[in-house]
């Protein structure tokens, strides 16, 4: 640990290269609350810049952005003479206590890699900011760091998990743009999105393109999932359709139900009679007997035992 006294001075903003984002970790850059605070109280904490001509910002990009939007002409700065790697460490540590969002974490890792930090140093930081220390995580974060703003905004807006970020990065930017456009207006949980993205990836792999027709006009995420399931699992969907038809043919009242394994894997079925009297039990059994006589129950067993294909053979 070393101690050094730093002084700040007001520097004209025109002397700063505002577009140089080499050390910028913040995302998004513009912050309404911060801008309002700066408008009322000014910049309380100076930004840090390289001792260069013109000045290059090391940390304080959000404050600079707010100052620019408020039309400030000068800004308090601490001028530091440091190497690039130290500069990045200053930027990281300056922001560490406020906590990084996932895009900012991606920027940290990506910039450390770019500046030649060792993997051990990168993993050390990843551990400190709550990321798994693994090569595949580094790869995903670099992908996110370089991704288009639409994806970054989508990730932050929906607080996506790393798994879903990975899925989105798997698609090419054009496909990603379409997926984000379809999903933007609707709400979903992370696990529902995961199911949707998994099915979209599978379709892309099998058919070579996205099933855009299945996404258009869907009113919510559940409908998208339902449509995609039909598309990705045609066999299950067809069995399910057959089962519903047979169940309908049985003509059972509401207190009798038949349940099958959703994947038609288990060969047994559940027959449920809800009854509060012996008469209702007798009546239920009679109705089931009727369905057996008409061959509907055998038809259902044909589905759970997968006898359809064999018969067709």
């Amino acid at each position: 640990m070393y101690r050094q006294r730093y002084y700040f001075e007001y520097i004209p903003i025109e002397d700063i290269v505002t577009q140089d984002r080499t050390f910028c970790l913040s995302y998004p850059l513009f912050d309404d609350i911060l801008t309002e605070s700066i408008r009322r109280f000014g910049i309380i904490q100076p930004i840090i810049v390289f001792d260069s001509e013109p000045y290059i910002v090391i940390t304080g990009f959000k404050r600079l952005e707010s100052a620019l939007s408020l039309g400030f002409e000068e800004i308090p700065c601490i001028i530091r003479q440091v190497g690039q790697m130290d500069a990045l460490l200053i930027a990281v540590n300056d922001n560490l206590t406020r906590g990084f969002n996932i895009v900012e974490k991606a920027h940290c890792v990506d910039k450390m890699m770019q500046l030649g930090f060792s993997m051990e140093e990168v993993y050390d930081l990843m551990g400190r900011i709550g990321l798994g220390r693994h090569e595949s995580v580094v790869k995903s974060l670099i992908g996110l760091s370089w991704a288009e703003t639409e994806l970054k905004d989508f990730v932050l807006r929906h607080r996506l998990s790393m798994k879903n970020i990975d899925y989105l990065l798997w698609f090419d930017p054009n496909e990603r743009e379409k997926i984000i456009a379809y999903l933007s207006g609707i709400s979903f949980t992370d696990s529902l999105l995961r199911e949707i993205l998994e099915m979209l990836s599978l379709t892309k792999l099998k058919k070579g393109s996205l099933p855009e027709g299945e996404l258009e006009g869907a009113k919510d995420a559940f409908e998208i999932r339902k449509r995609l399931k039909r598309y990705v699992n045609p066999g299950i969907s067809s069995l399910d359709g057959e089962f519903k038809k047979l169940k309908e043919s049985c003509g059972f009242p509401k207190n009798i139900d038949i349940k099958v394994d959703p994947f038609f894997e288990k060969e047994y079925i559940d027959i449920i009679i809800k009854a509060d009297s012996l008469d209702k039990v007798r009546d239920g059994l009679k109705k089931i007997e009727g369905a057996i006589e008409k061959g509907y129950m055998e038809g259902i067993f044909g589905l759970t035992k997968s006898r359809i294909h064999r018969d067709e053979d």
């Binding site: 798997w170 099998k206 994947f263 035992k305 997968s306």
Partner: protein
Amino acid sequence: MALQRVEFIETKIDAVRDCPGTKNHICCGYKTIDLIEGCPLSCSYCILKHYIKSDVIKVNRNIDHVINQVDSIIENDKSHIWRFGTGELSDSLVFDRRYGLNRPLIEYFGEKKRALLELKSKWAQIDHLIPFLNRFTIISFSLSPQAIIEKEEKRSSPLYKRLKAAKKAQDRGCFIGLHLDPIIIYEGFEKDYYYLVEDIGRILDLDRVIWISLGLLRFPSRMMDTFIKEKRRNLLYGEFIRGEDGKYRYLKSERIRVYKMLYDLLKNKNNGLFIYLCMERQDVWRESIGLTIEDTEALTGLFDKRIRYLYGGEL
């Protein structure tokens, strides 16, 4: 695809176990010998990578201890003719020429004459073992169409080499085993598997094939992400469901169709072949090959019968 480091260990932990099997599926009652943990062949669909999270392949050099454990099982449980194999946590032959791990086991089983040792592999190097082979060692090869070997089993031996090595073992007087596992449903797979069975029938003596296993692709759910990430189109071509054991499997009707197709193709080549399904449900057994197998005990009984038929009073 990083290369793994080999590390030798001398351990006295239990290296002989029952094949772990899977919930609600019939297992064949196999005993596994964990001589090596990890495999350098790195087949794309291999579940070992997900179970063994290490860059190190561990080779157990304490063969005497392993043999003692095998011997204790053979001596203490005479209810079946036990089948032991080293191909569960690794490939049985891939390191063998270099490290000579199998020879003491082959010799032990040859002298014991009470159980069988199966060396299961995708690596077709057996010349170094030929002089030591005996009838109590089964040389087995996992077989796939060459198109799948080229894409999903890149580091392993080509099909023709595996078949040639199997034939060499037959010529030496051994029975061989064949494992069509995993069977993969991809575009045009029926034709490729048809020609695979043709090759098997053309190159091998089918009377000297002790067993053939059929097992369609199945994998733990977390491998789905890996397959998608790696764009494994062949592996993801079919329609999958989540089985009762939580693993992804092909839809039951598809499994029945494919098993039936392969069973018929193989039986047409030689009706005497002993064909079993690996980790399948009772109803799939019944619908595809017409056998009602109640449980693992029943299947183990069928193996006993098969072995007795081929070995007579020798075992």
